[in-house]
Point group: C2
Chain length 563, copies 2
Amino acid sequence: MSTSTRLFSPQRIQDVASELGIPEEYVEVYGRGKAKIDLAALAHPQDGAGRVVLVSAINPTPAGEGKTTTSVGLAMGLRRLGKRVALCLREPSLGPVFGVKGGGTGGGRATLVPADDINLHFTGDLHAITAAHNLLSAMADNACHFGVPCGDKGPLDPRRITWGRALDMNDRALRHVVLGLGHKTDGVPRQDRFDITAASEVMAIVALASGYADLEERLGRIVVGTSLGGAPVTAADVGASAAMTALLRDALKPNLVQTAEGGPALVHAGPFANIAHGCSSLLATRLGARHSDIVVTEGGFGFDLGGEKFLDIKCRAAGIWPRVLVLVATLRALKMHGGAPVKRAGEPDAQALARGIDHLTKHLETATFFGLPVVVAINVFPNDTAEELTAVESALQQRNVRMSRCEGFARGGEGALDLAAAVAEAAEATDKAPPNPRFAYELSDPLDEKIRKIARVVYGADDITLSHGAEKDRARIEALGGEKLPVCMAKTQLSLTDDPHVHGRPRGFHVNVRELRLSAGAGFVVALTGDMMTMPGLPKEPAALRVKLLPDGRIRGLMQNDD
Amino acid sequence: MSTSTRLFSPQRIQDVASELGIPEEYVEVYGRGKAKIDLAALAHPQDGAGRVVLVSAINPTPAGEGKTTTSVGLAMGLRRLGKRVALCLREPSLGPVFGVKGGGTGGGRATLVPADDINLHFTGDLHAITAAHNLLSAMADNACHFGVPCGDKGPLDPRRITWGRALDMNDRALRHVVLGLGHKTDGVPRQDRFDITAASEVMAIVALASGYADLEERLGRIVVGTSLGGAPVTAADVGASAAMTALLRDALKPNLVQTAEGGPALVHAGPFANIAHGCSSLLATRLGARHSDIVVTEGGFGFDLGGEKFLDIKCRAAGIWPRVLVLVATLRALKMHGGAPVKRAGEPDAQALARGIDHLTKHLETATFFGLPVVVAINVFPNDTAEELTAVESALQQRNVRMSRCEGFARGGEGALDLAAAVAEAAEATDKAPPNPRFAYELSDPLDEKIRKIARVVYGADDITLSHGAEKDRARIEALGGEKLPVCMAKTQLSLTDDPHVHGRPRGFHVNVRELRLSAGAGFVVALTGDMMTMPGLPKEPAALRVKLLPDGRIRGLMQNDD
């Protein structure tokens, strides 16, 4: 439990909404300090410039970069500068909260309030998504059990159901299961899997849907499996999409909370950044943009994953484009990218740092491709040396890139004033000529060309290799009309390559695409470049062992770390 | 969607709370028209007589009895008579909502508001219970995976884990599963099951816990399985109970909604009435009793199951005892108990009705044993004949039992005024000498004697038979100190016997106990008398096919039936 949470007296959530220009009639309070915003608020007239600032990072390391902490701190700092700020972040999943990582609400003095609630059930969105996902699973298996026709596709083939089940829990034992055992009345035996809810296509759909009609259409397009006759069977064919939409009625409404300094934060949807696109909801960003000077939002993992997808998938769908990119790094993480082992990344090491700056430079080049002005935010740790900070600053100055030291963790918005001023200046400088969207690929490109362009432009690869299986997937997806969809890269977050052990700035490599999957509802084709974990496990000593309800109603042990 | 819901303009939920004497500071609003009540409200001084009225029914039939509709109508009627009423009901489960039965919020004009929300995610209690249940499951399998010791019991034996997983969904394919398949990193392969959340012991615990300390203690006592050394391993041994308590912080707070006429309804917890005790939460009943003239509450299924358990388990734990028993029946159901087939139960049939009255009479005798004054509520259907209604009335008059025709479904509180007056009169008549608790058995009775007494007194059986397995279970449970716990009968709801096909008033039968299970956290021993379904399946045409979100935000298809 952070000190700031205890010392700070939160605003009424209606007052937080009013700071964002959202009238009280649209505010549905959900417990203390939480609200959902009715979608009708999106019809309210726009009254802010809504400049979007994307917070991304270098490739993550076990040392932690503090992207969420920096986003929260930046929003606090901007608010202290008198800007109307909407902070748009992802919702945490219960899995990591009880697993290794801890909560996802920032750290130190740069946190969201009420952190306990947000890290646990919040307003129930993840549970609603789990329920909608599993209703479809149960209805698909039920259709097999009774052998009823699915729409005009005929009966579903139980051997070719591709839709798994979902649970918001780190539970490795559910990765591979056989279900339908028992007697004739207990269903059709077959192999299945459970994914964590953040990896569910329903989560990606909620994050990308532009309203209820779009939500229901997208849900209806989800491919569940194949009929006995070989046709793709969708959620609409199974008859599940309308009920799933009903289950998601409230989950589609953006959630409003506040920062530990009282500023508005729209925390809504949390798709995985490997198997899905890793960004908070389109609706929350739109809502924030209507009523703010600046929207601070982030993509999951590094700029090569969540950042690229924010631009190529979310911005394309939402019709928005950021004014500024904030790239978060720490000295420790840079040195790890330069080859320093995690245990010694805290010690000065000029050579490792130089190689780490090489890694950072690749992301800067990518930002230049996308036409985005960059501010590099160094999330400062107490034992960082002035010498190393200056080394990074000088290297960036040579590239004409502004670096800012951010101390949001230790000092809240006050520690992020320099970053906030740099970001505000850079964002406002584009007012007269906002940057035009420039995507890594066009939707009209063939699927392999889309992947190739991402690999070259964003990862710095020479080329890609599609496995035999991926080529077959491609033919199948094209036959289903998926050719014109954007591509969602499922790649390790730890490296610019598809090999998690390759650090720094790799060159001359190929990206190997193993498999292509159609997420027809989310509206993208997932390109898998390795074994993607879609159901994490608990570690030997789960974080859950330290979680405890205190007599005053607070919960201990939810915030030991930060994304 | 009922007409009344559309015509009625709901009260602010804070005003509903104030009608119950609950100050606004304890009201945590959860979306429109829903709130949770902080447990601190229980420390507020009592200001009502809090006479408890138990609504129960004859054994259920496929024709439906309308117990919840009658409870809601009764509360509405009492309110129209100027009484301060607290209605305490169970929370519906998503499974039946999407399966056969439809929602659990009453019917016609006797419904709860907002019915859509209550039938779907409500305030998230069932989801929180699912999460707490599955956190324990994941932590138990995780302990096996890493082979770590559980408390001082040593490592858990994966072959003897008895704690399953839970999902709030009708999903027959999950009844019997094999999990932990895949590679070494994917856990220990073993057989497992999923129960629907209402059947989870965590649900029973939430319903019976008297506060957070009691909740955490009960959760800690849950038996997860057996160690390699043969010792019982609990949730406390696995280290899960504190985190489970944190997950249940808000779920333990009673939920407040209103009837379609604006009166307060505490809708909280919904344990199964076969494998568990089938009553809404102890805390909600306590809260309601503090601030009302009359508390209207119900037990699941018939008086032989939910009614008996209300008295022997919940009242014993809560230190309360009802003033009046309302026994709900319909002419159709009575005739079905008299042998009429479901399709012809709507037609006049004097002989079948007479035999059905025989069935009702057994429940009246049981009520006499418990010392409870009875009002029989006939839930009137439009085609019920005056002749048959009079026949029932006369038969009851001979036993000096008041019968009331209830038309809450068609006319709301106005249609329940007669019932309300009868119940109020009967309840107030006991003010000078409230009935003393009289249980079917004493906690000091041996386990088999407890079951025998229930079977004789409540079911009208001659005796019980314990299978060889049940005898072994008994020895094991006694060795674990479970001898002094109450017994929770898991029996078919369709018959007074353990055979669902035996209707009417059976005599001269034995009840066969197949198995005894210790629910150490809930604090009872479950006696299973047949195959109890703990994970329902969807029917060939699930109710989900008709559920749809309407453009105005209402949801169609949730209320086609009533419990």
